[in-house]
Symmetry: C2
Subunit: 350 residues, 2 copies
């Protein structure tokens, strides 16, 4: 399938302000480097926005939801209906992501990209169903090239909408029973990781379920051995909500906006996006390390260290929402802390 034209327009972040940013950070009233990861975060946001006074405006979290044909293979501890039931839970404000988004001042919207359920119109629900669920990728492709392209567009459009409303910081989460299986298959193929390393217990499989899930991923990878280009892999092994996240992330980079990558599934979407255009990485902040076993392997392969490691494995964007206050804190220290000169504090012994 064909990569959308605009993807070629994504640019790496300019290094022009790097020295100014570093010097501003180093002259704050603290030993050099004493704020650790917050310093690199402030630096990253500053260079994305190309200013030494960055600002994070109207954070917007999209939760993309879709169903997976592969659940017929018994790869999840929960039944498929939980996908639409959780979408309704999101819309009623009762899920973990609602609590954390509300708590941290993040606007939350839910997108039906491919749930096996017909939703009525509801505030904060974007009805953009491409099709009801993917096909079982142990028997054929998960989705056609057209469906994959449509799902990518849904995600890109969501980013456009948030940016149009004044946001310059995007967060992405997902809901889709069965999607750790898809994420494992995508990561195994695109990062050349062994199946045993990327397949985990998801929402709580037992030993037999885990063995079955490994076998499913092995069979899927064998069936789609010819799929190697990023979007072909996505169509063969992905999910509609994952494809939407790929589009949304790429489009965030196109808008030169920072975006926050949640857990295992969101990282798999990032892997696809990065395989298409490595520059997307400059715009990505990795929120947390999931307790899902595959996530550690994928993060290591990407050589990234996320901000949080709290043993969470829920998805929905919960890790991204919880990491958000660290991002605003990083920008705040860059803008608000006094320098040694300003505060009249003696610097280090020379």
């Amino acid at each position: 399938m064909i990569t959308p034209d605009w993807v070629a327009e994504i640019r790496p972040v300019s290094a022009e302000l790097d020295d100014a940013l570093r010097s501003k950070i180093d002259l704050k009233t603290k030993p050099v480097g004493a704020l650790g990861r917050l310093e690199s975060l402030a630096f990253q946001v500053g260079r994305i926005q190309q200013t030494t006074e960055p600002e994070l405006r109207h954070p917007h979290l999209w939760v993309f939801a879709g169903d997976h044909g592969v659940v017929g293979q018994g790869v999840s501890a929960y039944p498929q209906e939980v996908t639409w039931q959780m979408v309704l839970n999101f819309l009623s404000g009762g899920a973990a992501i609602n609590v954390f988004a509300r708590h941290n001042g993040i606007r939350l919207q839910v997108v039906d990209v491919g749930v096996c359920h017909t939703f009525e119109a509801r505030p904060d629900l974007v009805r953009a169903k491409v099709q009801p669920g993917t096909g079982d990728f142990t028997k054929g492709v998960a989705m056609s090239p057209d469906a994959c392209e449509a799902a990518l567009s849904v995600g890109a459009h969501c980013t456009d909408e948030a940016v149009g409303e004044g946001s310059n910081a995007l967060l992405f989460g997902e809901m889709g029973i069965g999607n750790t299986t898809s994420a494992a298959a995508l990561s195994a193929r695109l990062l050349s990781l062994p199946v045993g390393k990327v397949v985990g217990r998801g929402t709580g499989l037992d030993e037999a379920g885990l063995a079955r899930k490994r076998d499913v991923v092995e069979r899927a990878l064998a069936l789609h051995a010819q799929a190697n280009r990023p979007l072909d892999v996505l169509a063969a092994l992905g999910g509609l909500e994952i494809a939407a996240m790929v589009g949304a992330m790429l489009r965030a980079a196109w808008h030169q906006c920072v975006f926050v990558v949640d857990g295992f599934i969101a990282t798999a979407a990032f892997v696809v996006a990065q395989a298409l255009t490595p520059s997307v990485r400059d715009y990505a902040v990795f929120a947390h390390q999931s307790d899902e076993q595959g996530h550690q392997a994928v993060l290591a392969a990407l050589d990234v260290q996320p901000l949080l490691s709290l043993g969470m494995r829920l998805g929905e964007g919960t890790g991204a929402a919880l990491a958000w206050p660290l991002m605003t804190a990083a920008v705040a220290f860059l803008n608000e802390m006094a320098s040694f000169d300003q505060a009249g504090v003696s610097n280090k012994h020379e």
Copy 2:
């Protein structure tokens, strides 16, 4: 020296509500355990407050400041005057802790327990100087039993004041050039850790400085070999701001309030408090793992895993302030998330 009477009144947290809390957490719309550390945090706050609907009110962060006679031995990369200069920076709102406390809705007050400087009255400065700095503990005790007791009282009084104003959550930080040396000595003695493990670079010592600091701690431990009871160790090797933190932490536990332990120095204060009365541990949340080398060893000896690990090494309470949103998020999910029944979501396959 004599332990204050009220310390004997500190009680371990009751296990009476443990089942109710566990069940409430497990029935939320998420796989069991999927919120990881946030679940144990919600559980801890619920049992401290003895309710399944805990509430964190008016978080109050005290920064205790004091100077250290041992800086004369060349154990810090910064001159001693930085202690009082940073106190003024705190009072002007320009330090990292000001930014993070403001950012996260935490009330901040600064306490002069023993700075070598005379401060004028300023809002948010508590002038409670016991004496201007400690003695050089390579030559004698850091402070007399009376001074140590007075510093403990200052800390306890600060907690009383915050609780009196309606706070039920205390955070503690510190400022004191040279205080990683004192924290290392206290931890080495009370946890029987080797000096090489607990002495680090502090604000940025070079190799020669690090070797000198190790030697200083070795000599201090040898000189005060007879000091083994917690408060004797504190008087011999501690700092006035550290003693105040010990008092403040103990008093928070006495009030049955949760308190947040910041980095290396605050953890050393906790070590003293726990040596006095192990129950204090039930009330403590460990905010972050500092990049200061000794902190990892001390946390491992205490068998605790802090919430954040961001490579920070600044003190001031910055780690505590940054961990705060995770605590409020934990309480929020416990109070606000829907259960499977409430949301009409199917639970796991049986």
